[in-house]
Symmetry: C2
Subunit: 180 residues, 2 copies
């Protein structure tokens, strides 16, 4: 057995709009007890849409939590915790960008957890290729601008602080590391 805090209780504090808030009671190896925050999220999917010429489709939207517009890869929460993330990525691609890919052209890239110290939000990130233009289908509260960028432009935007969203940086830079 390795030394680590053990959870001895979990209490629901609040059911939020997209996350539920819990207070965990932990006992440390020395016997003292502490409260930990636990934020429960149902999971999400994201997609890096790669055009035939190599450019990547990005979305820009206002994010209330940070009071900023952000440039991100398309992403969205699962329709229930049981929805396969590939299906969600495939759906969010067309809804947010107005580009469609066959499900066969949606390929798994990586899994990440956004903030492991207090939240279980897990995002599976996919690549989508052989895209064709259809049209956006945005949710009522989504207002999204679409733009196309080369991976070199996007890398420079990460370095310049113009892309700040963690899933977007992790996904794009991992994709870049795979390129020949």
């Amino acid at each position: 057995m390795e030394l680590r805090p053990e959870r001895i209780g979990r209490r629901l504090i609040h059911n939020g709009a997209i996350v539920d808030i819990y207070q965990d009671r932990m006992v440390l190896p020395d016997g003292t007890e502490e409260n930990y925050d636990f934020i429960k999220h149902k999971g999400a999917a994201a997609v890096i849409p790669v055009m035939d010429d190599g450019r990547i489709i990005m979305v820009r939207q206002y994010r209330n939590a940070i009071d900023q517009y952000t440039l991100e890869i398309p992403a969205g929460g699962l329709n229930g915790a049981d929805e396969p993330t590939k299906i969600a990525a495939h759906r969010e691609l067309e809804e947010e960008t107005g580009y469609y890919a066959d499900l066969n052209d949606v390929e798994f890239l990586l899994t990440l957890y956004t903030t492991v110290a207090f939240c279980n939000e897990k995002i599976d990130i996919y690549l989508a290729r052989n895209l064709r233009k259809t049209q956006q289908h945005l949710d009522d509260d989504e207002f999204i601008d679409v733009s196309l960028h080369t991976i070199d432009e996007l890398t420079q935007m990460v370095r310049d602080g113009k892309i700040v969203d963690a899933k977007t940086i992790a996904g794009l830079m991992t994709y870049r590391a795979m390129l020949p």
Copy 2:
């Protein structure tokens, strides 16, 4: 003016151990109202410690929120929202790894927000070089194993799903993109 939801209220739900939970009241451009979750975090710093031979110092610890051990770059919350992130990164480096760098050898790499849909957690990630061995100074609830890996090993671990922490993937893969 661009179309976007406007916040018309923010109500505190709960003061947590490391985050505070709020419910935001938003009005959409069509006039309808919705609640958004807002999780307030004081900010954090992380550091990629690069040894003279190029290997990177990683930390392994148990994460209650995802019920898993994770391999991560060293990181920690700010000692108050006013602490400069470079000072925090410098401190966490020695506390978590037992390696020390002069403050002059701690260089800014990038800023990210961990999960922009509902949380304002911002992490500044630094590189540290010219490391020398001292000793760990862990918090009471920290139990951390230290290991050294090349960037190629770490890239493969991201691809294999052995590294899943978003700040770690974003930091390492951005560092990799900068290498000659």
